[in-house]
Amino acid sequence: MRLVWTVGLVSAGLSSKVLANQWNMPVGVTDVSREIHSLHMIIFWICVAIGVVVFGALFYSLFRYRRSRGARASNFHEHTTLEIVWTVVPLLILVAMAIPATATLKKMYDTSEADLDVMITGQQWRWRYSYLGEEVAFTSNLATPRSQVEGKSAKSENYLLEVDEPLVLPVGQKVRLLMTSDDVIHSWWVPDLAVKQDAVPGFVNENWVRINEPGIYRGQCAELCGKDHAFMPVVVKAVEPPEFESWLAQRKEAAAQAALGVDREWALEELMTRGEQVYATICASCHMPDGQGSPPAFPALAGNQTMLDDADYHIETVINGVSGSAMPAFRSTLNAVELAAVITYERNAWGNDTGEAIQPARIAELIDSP
């Protein structure tokens, strides 16, 4: 009896330690995630019970019927009843586990009657979110500075789990998530929302969430997708519906402002400042912060004469990418202002002093006519 108590106490202590250290699967903040968690725990305890019975019987027999006590093996060959029992019992256990699991799976796949649709597009190496029917879309890039990655400065609390613009979602509403990819297979994974779904080029996968509690939920790309796979985290910010509505309205306003910005004449300095930001978040991972690239895979842009002599070639390359190479097309990832800015930046940074300012209006014409 004392043994039973000790074992009980030790395992209770262990399980609280495991939960406190977040070694276990998180309970999460949606009804589905809670269900998945309790399924996980039920099945875990079933496995524990089976383990205790099987290994208990094994060790007991080894000990009780050991040779030094004169035990003799009984050499029987078949025992049909016993064989039927140990086939039927696991079968029943499996079926019993499959019933609640199927019920949960059905809920997970029921994407009908959503209040909001969000398209999630994986790109090497960032996520792009677009609120369907709302004209709001943006990319979400890693916000951890390169210096932390290279160990030149202290790592922040959310190291590699922070982005410039999180996906903002309303709590209490059913949000359908449509996932695809522009290049290779990615996987959008947020443990607290119990969503881990592949984003596959040419396909649209569906999933959904209804978040119960406001908060910030972090995740990562869960499908090895190339060099910066570790640098494309997911951050979801769940807010109350009124706050969401005002955020959405603000984003629409900002998009309208940006559209206005396309038509006006931009100064070189303005474009350079904007372009430097864009370059650092998007292009520097391949062409390096100093524009030297890493030839032969990623060409240098500093002192790149072909590119400097021919602005049209430069623009064309950035807008449409280079098919069959790692250079992506940026026509749908960046807007006209960002494209103009980054191209201007590349034509004037690192000693490329062409003095040319590429105007957003010139780019807008090109990206509006495919």
Binding site: H77, E78, T80, E83, I84, T87, T102, K106
Partner: protein
């Protein structure tokens, strides 16, 4: 025939009496077992599809 079906069912289940096995191997014809096995495998697949679509409703 019923005996063949019983033996195929036992094979699906994974448990068979040694006496039955010896008898099947001495008196039975391999061809019959193969045909009945294939037909019953098809039936099993059909049954699983039925159960799955009922569960998905």
């Amino acid at each position: 025939m019923w005996r063949v079906i019983q033996s195929v069912l036992a094979a699906f289940f994974g448990v068979q009496k040694e006496s039955r096995r010896t008898e099947d191997f001495t008196h039975g014809r391999g061809f019959v077992f193969i045909v009945v096995g294939l037909v019953m495998a098809a039936l099993l697949v059909g049954l699983l599809v039925l159960v799955a679509s009922l569960a998905a409703e």
